[in-house]
Symmetry: C2
Subunit: 466 residues, 2 copies
């Protein structure tokens, strides 16, 4: 096999870059096949592409040096946290250097009076919550996986608590990033609000590493509520369950979590965790407040559920019962996976205006049924966001085709309802094909920004933009 | 007087542009001196610059045509709402076309189930609240003036309710803008959250017309709370008042408004509105919730105030008493103005981490005293944001100099405390000199974006970027 001139040139550039990075990091750069493969594969069904090398950095200045070297040789740079992303964010289709952020795992500063904290990007959400619990504070964003806060910032993560506490968009106060030209930029200061210039923080949140590498994040924190009540409530239909959530929000109940779990899921949960729950569409809910406040929310929710034919509403405030309940919800993925042994799973998500949610979920359920696909549905119903967990044998061409066609119909259905092809997983490489349908001329604006800030296209190339 | 070649060329371009816009708008373009002057002057002490003409547009397509014509002739475009901005946002230092948005004043669609509304940019916040009140909904952002929602979006406005409901950053779901190249871009769909690509909504919110002209906005709404309690509480010191606010937030009380009013202000309020309030640092507060919930917040706040030596806490839930209270707060500006007859006023604002607020306010008070300046202080204390209202005789060179030096020290003091030179008024032309001190290398990122999206610099030139 002969190599093209371009390929030879690329190989030389990459070798040069690796040699120079080695001068900076010593033995903290690896070209071992196992390390490269592990950094090229996320939790999707996509086989992934390995980087040419993995750099294990200790601080912002090292990231800057790596980026400067990669910029000189036009070699791709892809940041790596916990590898738990779901749309191929961290794979390296054009090779290059994967920057592993896991050594940057320090909580740098807690400001309890200001309800904020400064962390390095390798800190995971559970590590952070462990660290700040003593001070009566918590960080609410919970995407399920114990992801790194850098990765959560880059993908604009959210999860079960978003209905009350918002997403990473709302909870990042400022961040520091190394841009494509090697400049270190801090996007904002620590004031809670500002109207001083363009919102660079929000530009970077959700940019999936395509504009810069995030090396420090200042996050908003919240006080641990005095009282937490959690419960489950079955409903006669998905529509009734959705309407209960809508009514809650309409009445101004500051519900902290409201998760729709369909009957299919309940069957899996019962089989896996022996929960003995009714196998009907069910809401898992949680209320935060003072003791009287949480209790008032529980009572109001129970009345709403009753009026919509739901119930009985089974709830608890003690920690053990609450944790058992949410553990079942978080184990949902494994419960479902155990129903389909030997197949690869893939989780997808869309988000629609809440008024269209019941319709969108129902159409999706019928679509699955019609095409003989197994795909339980879980939803962050307070946000109009839901997930389908699909299973596929990648060696079965017909099944792969049916799955891909379903994913296409699902994304287009959400977009047609004035929703988005992804509420929280991100675009990565997997959903680039939907960006044009969703954003139209907005894609050209995004591309203009990308080209202006990263003219050599070294920052996570092949992601977001089609 | 002879004109330079450039000046002649510019005049010809502007005349051509006006002629072509006249073909589109007929008599809805004005070059009368009075109309031009009125559109070039905002509520600052800055004399302002008039545009060459004012275009009164009816819809997005007309805005597009005006922008396309202006782009062809490289003529500046400046959007105009109510003219209530405070940092020279709408003045036209390079002439050009002021686009008056006041004919675009329709509420286009209310989606009560989704808690959102689609409006044209000329609708004011009071008009919107009037329109949606029947449906049990309200729009919380309240910057004081009855500003247009387009202007509020462009300047990332906030105000007294931001501590609970956030700012325009948090309450704009999506918007439509005509970009510098004439493309109509809708920044996002109507889903409550999305992780599909760059956050173009947040890029446009706060961009002050320098990237595009906003022609439609989709805003989040909130349910009118069942019960509202409002009150006033004096404190022995500014520090004690700030600490009361911090403690409230730390305890998770979802306080809806918490406004610091200094003793100087109280003297003015009493003289103007005959309120009979103690002339001490005072918090004006408001609580939203269920009847029991609001009452619980009142009781907790009263206990906190008592512990910090504050009180008595005088509160009410009936509408008449509440409105009287907030009217006094909103009349604050006029009350203060009446203390200094015949001088021009200028309101400025900064925002710091809440832990630094008491210190920043106190240093500012001493600074005013030291330099013999009269400047009552009002603060959105839950956000660390405060205002100083200054008075100046523009014909007194020494007073102008002292005022400008004070403004410089105030902005730099806030930045040194890891705060911002403006929490809600924006940069406009007045605060461009502080952008570098606040954002450092971030300014270059902003400039790159601006140049990429508006290469001819026709969108509100001379604003934000230094």
């Amino acid at each position: 096999m002969t190599m093209s001139v371009q390929t030879v040139e690329r190989r030389n550039s990459v070798s040069q870059a690796i040699a120079e990075i080695t001068e900076v990091l010593g033995d903290r750069i690896s070209t071992s096949q196992a390390v490269r493969d592990q950094h090229g594969k996320d939790t999707t069904w996509n086989p992934g592409h390995a980087p040419d090398a993995v750099a294990f950095v200790d601080n912002t200045e090292e990231v800057q040096k790596v980026v400067q070297i990669c910029s000189r040789y036009a070699v791709p740079v892809v940041a790596y946290g916990t590898g738990t992303s779901l749309e191929g964010h961290i794979t390296c289709p054009h090779g290059g250097i994967s920057i592993d952020m896991n050594n940057m795992n320090q909580v740098l500063e807690v400001n309890p009076q200001d309800f904020d904290v400064r962390v390095q990007p390798g800190v995971t959400r559970k590590q952070l919550n462990e660290y700040i619990r003593d001070q009566g504070l918590f960080f609410p964003i919970d995407p399920g996986a114990d992801a790194s806060l850098g990765g959560m910032t880059a993908t604009r993560a959210s999860g079960t608590n978003a209905v009350r506490y918002g997403t990473m968009r709302d909870n990042v106060l400022s961040l520091t990033a190394v841009m494509a030209n090697g400049e270190i930029v801090r996007t904002a200061r620590r004031a809670k609000k500002s109207s001083a210039g363009y919102d660079l923080t929000r530009l970077m949140v959700g940019s999936e590493g395509t504009l810069g590498v995030i090396t420090e994040i200042c996050l908003k924190l919240h006080g641990i509520p005095e009282s937490i009540a959690a419960g489950v409530c079955p409903f006669p239909s998905i529509e009734a369950a959705c309407n209960a959530a809508i009514t809650c929000i309409q009445m101004g109940i500051p519900i902290a979590r409201v998760e729709l779990v369909d009957a299919e899921n309940l069957r899996a949960f019962n089989a896996y965790s022996n929960l003995g729950l009714k196998e009907e569409p069910t809401l898992f809910v949680e209320f935060h407040g003072s003791e009287a406040g949480a209790r008032e929310q529980v009572d109001t929710f129970a009345a709403i559920a009753d009026e919509l034919g739901g119930g009985p509403f089974d709830w608890a405030t003690n920690e053990e019962d609450r944790l058992k309940l949410w553990q079942a919800r978080h184990d949902g993925y494994w419960a479902i996976k155990s129903m389909v042994p030997g197949k690869e799973s893939l989780g997808t998500d869309v988000c629609v205006p809440i008024s269209r949610l019941a319709e969108c979920v129902e159409e999706t359920r019928l679509d699955l049924e019609k095409h003989g696909l197994y795909g339980p549905i879980l939803g962050h119903v307070g946000d109009g966001n839901f997930h389908v967990v699909l299973f596929c044998d990648r060696n079965d061409a017909a099944e792969v085709k049916a799955t891909e066609e379903f994913l296409y119909r699902l994304a287009m259905r959400a977009i047609a309802m004035d929703g988005t092809c992804t509420g929280e997983h991100g675009i990565g490489s997997g959903k680039r094909k939907f960006l044009e349908a969703e954003h139209g001329p907005g894609v050209a604006v995004m591309r203009t920004i990308k080209q202006a800030l990263d003219p050599k296209n070294i920052m996570n190339p092949g992601k977001i933009l089609p």
